[in-house]
Amino acid sequence: MDPKYCSGVVFSNTQVYENIYEMKVGENFKGQPGQFYMLRAWNREPFLSRPISISNIENGTIIFLYEIKGKGTELFSKLRSGDSIELLGPLGTGFPLGIEGNVGIVAGGIGIAPMVYLCHKLSTKVDFYAGFREKSFYMDKIEKNVENIYISTDSGLEGHSGFITEIFQPEKYSSVYTCGPLPMMRIVLDMCRKANVSAYISMERRMACGIGACLGCSILTTSGMRKVCKDGPVFKGEEIVFND
């Protein structure tokens, strides 16, 4: 599906947790789990649009779950119902869907965002592992579509006290999908490799255009240089080459 550049109307924009927001934008949007949109709600400044993954699409209304990280996301958080926002997408290559066998999803923090939509679209049995710093958020949106939910927090306030990778059991699954901080995803890939389980990873890199032209988000893979925005953000785990 070719991407489009268009305007949308913000239906709602609500705080989900401390600096995590959920924005609903209409209407008639399309996309696959793991794909993203470049968003801007301003004219010239900040200069670049912001890549935000699709967190869900319900009857054409697109949902973005995002964390305030800088100027752009700060401005997003101030949008109100009725405001307009510019969208470029859907962009990139998402998660493979026609997978058989049990699926394990491992997400960290805001990395749960694309996994909400993924859970909706997968038709197999899914276990969801989610790691958070203080407390979990947004997990009620996942409950209906998964078999088991495992939670960990660094704080110990909820679920397992420590990292999510400490309770993740890759051998239970035929495929694993992961999105979150790179150190977490590296451990997940490592565990999957040892357990001989195929893994898919959603990468994050600074990007300017989002469509594959600027080469700002290029990464080295086993099949040469690949663009996170176009060839990814989802890659097969074994494709990723870590530099150190």
Binding site: R40, R44, F47, R206, C209, S218
Partner: protein, 302 residues
């Protein structure tokens, strides 16, 4: 109405996609027909494939961005075999942007490109992001003179030299490139800039220095284009932070034959179309029949 001739090559309009911001066109053809463009400068092509730089490659700044891509490209052979045939489906002027680390590399790449139907070359002597090269040729005019004259000897197509704003003296640089046989000049490439990660207490970029582009450089770029146009007689293509037709007209009024749109493509994929239609409307509203009427108009004595 909007057509221009640059170094003997006819462009249907003065709007050209700038090198390094437009790939080989494939990413943008999803948004509009590339035949609407005056021309496309390819991503910088080198003799051999390059992976580019590691670490952070893009950093947003106020009114623009810093980049440190490092000439990632598939190499001239793959370009000719896989990308060029696709680009040639469109009715637009293809300008091959050629980079290199040594004079020999430039010459070998140009010799390969001579055999294609590409009508124009843009010699990149100004990439700030490649060690030992690119930019090294673009700082000192004597060094630029040497590379331009050597490449000119072998080039069978009009040779436009893309100048760096980091040149010691931009007007002297333009003179010397002219003397060396350049058929045209394009300016400016990115300005040397940097950013620091204050929490990591280190430069954002592995190379420390990166290239600044976007509307934040426009007034300086415009001044340089104005100075160069006042000094040389060969066609000049203006580049630097052009975001709308007004910016483009400013460059033309300062003396540029055409303009290149770079970072703007990242903001809105079809920004070039907005600029083309804006120029058309401006000409109509102002009763301008040809861009020649306003090219360099600010320098003319009434």
């Amino acid at each position: 109405m909007t057509s221009v001739e640059i170094c003997g090559v006819e462009f249907k309009n003065p709007v050209i996609a700038a090198s390094g911001t437009f790939g080989f066109g494939r990413e943008y053809e999803k948004f509009y027909s590339l035949s609407k463009l005056g021309g496309i400068c390819t991503k910088g092509i080198t003799l051999h494939e390059r992976h580019g730089n590691s670490g952070t490659r893009i950093h947003e700044t106020t009114g623009g961005l810093l980049n440190s891509i490092g000439l990632e490209n598939p190499g001239v052979d793959v370009f000719i075999e896989e990308e060029l045939p696709h680009m040639e489906k469109y009715d637009t002027v293809i300008i091959a942007n050629v980079g290199g680390s040594t004079i020999e590399e430039y010459i070998m790449a140009v010799e390969k490109l001579n055999k294609t139907n590409i009508p124009m070359f843009e010699l990149n002597i100004s990439c700030p992001n490649v060690k030992q090269g690119g930019m090294a040729f673009g700082i000192k005019s004597d060094v630029a003179f040497k590379v331009v004259s050597e490449v000119k000897k072998v080039s069978k197509k009009p040779l436009v030299v893309k100048l760096s704003p980091n040149a010691e003296n931009i007007v002297d640089m333009a003179y010397r490139c002219c003397e060396a046989g350049a058929d045209g000049l394009s300016l400016v490439n990115t300005f040397s800039g940097m950013a620091i990660d204050i929490y990591g207490k280190k430069p954002v970029f592995e190379n420390t220095i990166a290239g600044l582009s976007g509307p934040c450089i426009k007034p300086i770029a415009l001044r340089m284009v104005y100075e160069v146009c006042s000094a040389v007689d060969i066609p000049v293509i203006g580049i630097g932070g052009i975001m709308d037709y007004k910016d483009a007209i400013e460059f033309i009024m300062s003396g540029a034959y055409g303009v290149q749109i770079g970072s703007g493509n990242f903001v809105k994929p079809d920004i070039c179309l907005d600029i083309i239609s804006g120029i058309e409307k401006f000409m109509k509203d102002e009763g301008i029949k040809s861009l020649k009427e306003i090219r360099g108009i600010i320098r003319r004595k009434s």
